[in-house]
């Protein structure tokens, strides 16, 4: 689009409209969260109840997602698994987001050796493939939810710091920052109320998709036998265990797989919706 048309479009006031991504993604997530919370009511109540009379049964009215090789109801396990995976996904990103954004903002604003220290650390961590690092840490620490949090906390913050630092570098030279400095605004106010809100948008948008990355990482760890210990109904573990039965009972692996896809789609749509909202009116 030529600059003329760009200006013509940019000068139009944007009517506030509810981002469809936000609505759809949000609803999907709410549904999933509700299902997870209401798992005891919605399902048979015990994800670990074995029943050797009903091994590898195809999906039916009694067992909407079928049963696995231990006769456990897959539907129940998927719902209880949602509790685990959602919890991990959401909790695991809190520290990376907060720490990473702050580190990035500080590095960007102060520059100099502070920036050098932070960014070289980021570079070192980034040099090793994410999954390899996570696997290494979890192998070292042992499996379990807490260790997953630790591993992701140690590694996952770097992307946020890069994103926020980039924005801060760009923003701090803009004239509105010079303007509020010349108006004598205290530095804390400038960073917290002016720079950060304008710099953190990409980090928030990334947050939405980072949740699903964490879920997938957890699932991968489970797949590799490193994550949540069985018999916990974590989706990754379920997929891993269900591998053997692809021909005799495809639903054992497929259902948790679909659950992952559903959650992923929900988060990505949500992220798009947030991006729309955060896009400033007129930009």
């Amino acid at each position: 689009m030529s600059t003329l048309a760009q200006r013509a479009v940019a000068s139009l006031p944007v009517k506030p409209r509810l981002a469809s991504g936000l609505v759809i993604g949000g609803s999907m997530l709410l549904a999933l969260a509700a299902a997870a919370l209401l798992a005891p009511a919605l399902s048979s109540g015990d994800p670990n109840a074995q029943n050797f009379e009903a091994i590898l049964q195809a999906p039916s009215l009694a067992h909407p997602f079928g049963t696995d090789n231990f006769g456990r109801d897959v539907f129940t396990r998927v719902l209880y698994g949602a509790q685990i995976d959602l919890r991990i996904g959401v909790l695991a990103i809190i520290f990376p987001f907060l720490f990473g954004s702050l580190a990035g903002a500080v590095a960007g604003y102060y520059g100099g050796w502070v920036d050098a220290v932070v960014m070289r650390t980021v570079d070192v961590i980034t040099a090793v493939p994410f999954l390899v690092l996570i696997i290494a840490i979890v192998s070292f620490l042992g499996s379990g939810e807490m260790n997953i949090f630790l591993a992701i906390g140690a590694v996952g913050w770097v992307t946020y710091s890069r994103l926020v630092r980039g924005e801060v570098l760009r923003e701090k030279n803009l004239e509105y920052v010079a303007a509020v400095r010349s108006l004598g605004f205290p530095r804390r106010r400038i960073i917290l109320r002016h720079l950060l809100p304008n710099a953190v948008a990409p980090a928030i948008i990334f947050l939405a998709s980072d949740v699903i990355l964490v879920i997938l990482t957890t699932a991968t760890l489970g797949f590799l036998g490193l994550g949540i210990r069985p018999p916990a109904p974590e989706w990754g573990m379920m997929i891993s265990e269900g591998r053997e039965f692809l021909s005799s009972g495809w639903w054992v692996a497929a259902m948790p797989g679909f659950a992952c896809m559903y959650a992923g789609l929900a988060f990505i749509l949500l992220g798009d919706g947030i991006a729309d909202i955060l896009r400033v009116r007129g930009q």
């Binding site: 689009m1 030529s2 600059t3 003329l4 048309a5 200006r7 013509a8 479009v9 139009l12």
Partner: protein, 326 residues
């Protein structure tokens, strides 16, 4: 060959966007004779750049020319294939863009970019000679050592000169210069304008100079086309335009220039230019015009002659005769 070198007839360009169709150019007509200099004056949104791009066939989808003709040496350029246009660009018509930093390729040397513009016949040595000659002509000092330079290593003025060298490589008949000096300091601007005028004389080239600076217009051009909201609202010889402006927008522009006499009040044009989406009928300048009346809001205002070689798109052009210009 008789007849004007370039004749633009009722050109219309539309650009569909998410918010509606932008009518960027709404019926632009003017001619340029061989060797003549025409100024295309207007502010942002007037359509002057898009008009130039339409002439050289650089309107990208989804924008497109919806109507009108662009007759170059008698041949209509609208609707020509890209291949046919490539034959005309460079030798017939060239365009020099506003911002040399983005118009030059940062990963190619000066020599490479100018050579690209030359015809590929003859030996490499002959081409290099021509490149050096061009660099000398555009006033680049010590051209031999500049051949291997990259655009980022040059100053703004030098980049503009390189861009002119590229434009002139094949001695075109018509140069479209889009705000060639807007991004430059005033002393460098003077240098570049002098250069363009000299090159024009040397090559017998016609020039369409797109600018918003009436000062430059006053000293450099033969005729002036004033554009507003996608239309030419006034067209006249330079002296005539400044002595007897016959469109309220032109008068407004002239009055907007702070005069040397500090006692003389500045009379800004009130309001802002219109959105180019969903334009209704009637004169687009009417909301800002002190002479407007009810009839100005209705129908298409004709582009009518108001004097010898002087045209205006205003119903009140006769009333304006009494208003002193300049």
């Amino acid at each position: 060959m008789s007849g004007p070198l370039l004749a633009v007839e009722d050109l219309r360009v539309e650009i569909p966007t998410r918010h509606g169709i932008v009518q960027a150019v709404r019926g632009v007509s003017f001619t340029v004779q061989r060797g003549e200099t025409l100024a295309l004056v207007g502010e942002s949104g007037s359509g002057k750049t898009i008009t130039c791009r339409a002439i050289v066939g650089l309107i990208h989808s989804p924008g497109h020319i919806t109507d009108g003709r662009v007759l170059f040496q008698g041949r209509d350029l609208v609707g020509l294939s890209e291949r046919e246009m490539e034959g005309i660009r460079g030798r017939g018509i060239v365009m020099a863009f506003q911002d040399p930093m983005t118009a030059l390729n940062p990963v190619l040397t000066v020599e490479a970019q100018i050579t690209e513009a030359l015809s590929q016949e003859g030996s490499a040595a002959a081409r290099r000679g021509r490149v050096l000659e061009l660099l000398r002509q555009v006033g680049i000092p010590d051209p031999v050592h500049r051949l291997g330079a990259y655009p980022q290593q040059l100053s703004g003025g030098q980049r503009q000169r390189v861009m002119l060298a590229i434009a002139l490589a094949r001695q075109p008949a018509l140069l479209l210069a889009d705000e060639p000096t807007t991004a430059l300091d005033v002393t460098i601007q003077a240098q570049i304008l002098r250069l363009i005028a000299a090159l024009q004389r040397e090559y017998g080239m016609a020039l369409i100079l797109v600018t918003h600076d009436l000062g430059i217009v006053y000293h450099m051009v033969d005729r002036v086309a004033v554009m507003y909201a996608g239309q030419v609202v006034e067209l006249a010889a330079r002296e005539e335009l400044f002595a007897r402006p016959r469109h309220p927008y032109t008068i407004g522009l002239i009055r907007s220039i702070p005069s040397a006499d500090r006692g003389r009040p500045l009379i800004p044009i009130p309001g802002t230019p219109p959105e180019l989406i969903g334009m209704g009928s009637g004169c687009p300048f009417a909301p800002r015009c002190e002479w407007a009346s009810a009839e100005c809001g209705r129908g298409e205002i004709p582009f009518a002659p108001v004097g010898e070689g002087h045209w205006s798109r205003c119903l009140k052009a006769d009333q304006l005769e009494a208003v002193a210009g300049g």
